[in-house]
């Protein structure tokens, strides 16, 4: 599109070039195969979360005569011991998973940003106290804490669960954000802003936060992963309401109805695969962010590919010697020069 417009009308070139340069960063991120795969997968699950209950072939709780049937044309992913359609349960359950993940991710990331950035920026005793607080929450095992809180709450709806998870899940992000803020605080542009007499909050919002975007994003994605795994585990143990469909609830019913002993693999494998796919999507996005932030990691991957092709092995302390460096001659295998000249 852009190429066509540019070649057809030369006057378009200049204005087109400017936004291209401005959005180059985003393009780099999107050109990353890992990030792209992750985003596509995530988008699929998001769409399922929205339309899941409309496209599901059956009511997930509806009983039927076909009990414990393996995958078939009527029931693509088989049925439970009560004849409920597992595909419908997964489709309908996607929404619960995504809502809790997203809500917990947002709350926990907000907490992490507030506490981490404040700690890193104010320094001194306040920093010590806030860091100690996040370390305490890091060290205390999260799941038992969530269990005793969620187990005693009178209601255990999705948002309540999300809230409880975020209370325990903010500490990791806060720790990373604090460290990054600490190093930003000493950078020249922040010092300059201070010397100019800009207000504390102006500096934080306009100088610090924009530079933390990638880390906040990665911490958000990490927290969403943590929240989803926690929520599913809670549902699987039966701490949270077992009447709300999500992938954990499916596993709960599978476990409590001896699906394993009866060999009903279709009851728990699809739900687990969905968790794995969603988790991998989130990890891939995070890898993408990491490589975007830290080019050294990115280069390693690309280097590895080109090197294998050229037969070079990069080693620490033994710089490779490739005498046929001219890549102009594709007919010759890489690394031939060594033999030629020997």
């Amino acid at each position: 599109m852009a190429v066509n417009a540019a070649t057809l009308d030369p006057t378009v070139i200049d204005p087109a070039a400017v936004p291209a340069a401005a959005t180059r960063h985003h393009l780099v991120f999107l050109r990353n195969t890992k990030a792209m795969t992750g985003l596509v997968l995530l988008a699929v699950f998001t769409v399922l979360a929205v339309i899941g209950s409309w496209i599901s072939p059956y009511d997930p709780s509806a009983l039927s005569a076909a009990t414990m049937s393996p995958p078939s044309a009527q029931h693509w992913l088989g049925t439970t011991n009560l004849g409920q359609d597992i595909l419908s349960q997964i489709l309908v359950g996607t929404r619960g998973v995504m809502i809790v993940g997203l809500a917990a991710g947002i709350i926990a990331t907000a907490l992490a940003v507030i506490i981490g950035v404040t700690a890193g920026f104010i320094g001194g005793v306040g920093d010590e106290l806030l860091s100690a607080l996040s370390n305490i929450f890091l060290v205390i095992p999260a799941l038992p804490l969530i269990i005793i809180i969620a187990g005693q709450l009178p209601s255990s709806g999705e948002l309540t669960v999300a809230f409880v998870i975020s209370i325990t899940g903010w500490a990791w992000g806060s720790r990373i954000l604090r460290a990054q803020t600490l190093s930003l605080r000493r950078r020249d542009f922040v010092e300059a802003a201070r010397a100019n007499g800009e207000s504390l909050w102006r500096i934080v919002i306009f100088e610090i936060l924009p530079n933390l975007t990638a880390i906040i994003a990665s911490s958000f994605v990490g927290t969403v992963t943590f929240a989803i795994l926690s929520e599913i585990t809670l549902a699987f143990i039966g701490v949270t309401s077992i009447s709300n469909w999500n992938w954990g609830t499916i596993l709960f019913w599978a476990q409590s109805n001896q699906a394993l002993a009866r060999g009903a693999w279709w009851w728990f494998v699809p739900a687990g695969m969905c968790i794995a796919l969603l988790g991998m999507a989130l990890s891939l996005i995070n890898f993408g962010i990491d490589e975007f932030v830290n080019p050294r990691l990115r280069n390693t991957g690309q280097n590895a590919r080109t090197m294998r092709r050229r037969g070079i092995r990069a080693r620490i302390g033994f710089t490779p010697v490739a005498r046929s460096a001219q890549p102009a001659d594709p007919a010759q295998p890489a690394g031939r020069g060594r033999k030629d000249e020997a």
């Binding site: 280097n303 033994f318 010697v321 460096a325 020997a342």
Partner: protein, 360 residues
């Protein structure tokens, strides 16, 4: 050890009769393994003679450290040696190409033949091992038959040689000051009595007093042990004091190679001239300091021709199309030991400021 001491030379004396100990021939190095690597060194050649202190100078990023690391095959990824030879000749006249040794041979040669003192001693020592262990493991790797006792004595001896008490062998790196750590590195480098010592900005991170002490110590040890030195620095004034010969690098190429005194008093390359004018003179009348206008070229997008041409006040048409090679100066008859890579000397007209010391 054939302790050859420096003999005073008059400017423009014939080439040193001393045999070479380390010869870098047409070394080419790329950064990046992909389709469009940066050519950081292009056919660079350099010779270190036995018993000589060779200074390697240039702006940061000119490739002087790369040259040293590549010649020892210590260049970290994504460095790639794409051609050339590095010939090491031992005391008995046997030569080997370091780039063709296999891993075991190269390991055996390292530190025994060529030792290196790296830039920034802060990170050169393993923070979790005691100094003594780091000294002896180098000794024991090369002399496996030696007893632990002997290695430990040798370690203590070398440490005392650089003026550090032997009880410091029990210290961890973080317990030493910056200057002390650099001395430990020098002691470590000399522990196996190597024939070549490469020093990469060994004093840059230190204060001036410490810098001076270490430089004096190196000169003294060299007199005593007779090793050859490649001394890399961006500080040309420092080189003039300690080097016998100076090579000036620009954009991955050596542009001038001549006895130290000659480079200092009678530069032949416009870049060497500019570089020297940016340092205050050590002796003699004050003169106006001048920098070099412009900035070093981007090695990824190097234009054809002389890489210095865009900044050179004397550049003419040929400079923008043809790359000059290292060759004799326009006055080769009176100064055969000097080399310069400049079209002005190969058929051009040498401007006045580059003709100092030439009988007219």
């Amino acid at each position: 050890m054939t302790a050859t001491t420096t003999t005073p030379r008059s400017p423009g004396a014939p080439a040193s009769p001393r045999p070479p100990v380390l010869e870098v021939r047409n070394l080419s190095v790329d950064y990046g393994y992909g389709e469009a690597p940066t050519h950081v060194l292009r056919n660079t050649s350099l010779t270190l003679h036995r018993g000589e202190v060779l200074g390697l100078a240039g702006e940061s990023g000119c490739g002087k450290s790369t040259l040293a690391y590549a010649a020892t095959r210590l260049l970290p990824p994504p460095g790639l040696i794409t051609g050339g030879e590095v010939i090491f000749t031992d005391r008995f006249g046997t030569s080997v190409d370091l780039l063709r040794l296999d891993d075991a041979q190269l390991r055996a040669s390292r530190w025994r033949d060529t030792a290196i003192v790296f830039q920034g001693a802060m990170n050169s020592l393993n923070p979790v091992f005691r100094i003594g262990r780091q000294l002896t493991d180098a000794i024991r790797a090369h002399r496996p038959d030696e007893s632990r006792q002997t290695s430990a004595e040798r370690a203590a001896e070398t440490l005392e040689m650089v003026g550090i008490a032997a009880d410091r062998l029990r210290s961890y790196p973080h317990q030493l000051s910056g200057g002390m750590r650099q001395r430990v590195m020098i002691a470590m480098a000399l522990a196996l009595e190597p024939q070549v010592l490469i020093m990469d900005e060994p004093t840059t991170a230190l204060d001036v007093v410490m810098q001076r002490q270490i430089i004096e110590q190196i000169s003294e040890l060299r007199e005593r042990l007779g090793f050859s030195v490649i001394f890399i620095t961006h500080d040309v004034s420092l080189l003039i004091e300690i080097a016998d010969r100076i090579a000036i690098m620009y954009a991955g190429e050596i542009v001038e190679d001549a006895p130290a005194e000659d480079v200092y008093r009678r530069p032949r390359h416009p870049y060497a001239h500019g570089l020297l004018r940016s340092f205050p003179p050590l002796h003699g009348p004050r003169r106006e300091l001048g920098g070099i206008p412009g900035s070093p070229p981007d090695l990824l997008h190097l234009a054809p021709g002389c890489p210095f041409a865009p900044r050179c006040p004397h550049a003419f048409d040929l400079c923008r199309t043809d790359r000059p090679t290292l060759g004799p100066t326009a006055f080769a008859a009176s100064e055969p030991s000097r080399l310069v890579a400049c079209h002005l000397h190969a058929g051009g007209v040498v401007p006045r400021e580059l003709t100092a010391g030439v009988p007219s």
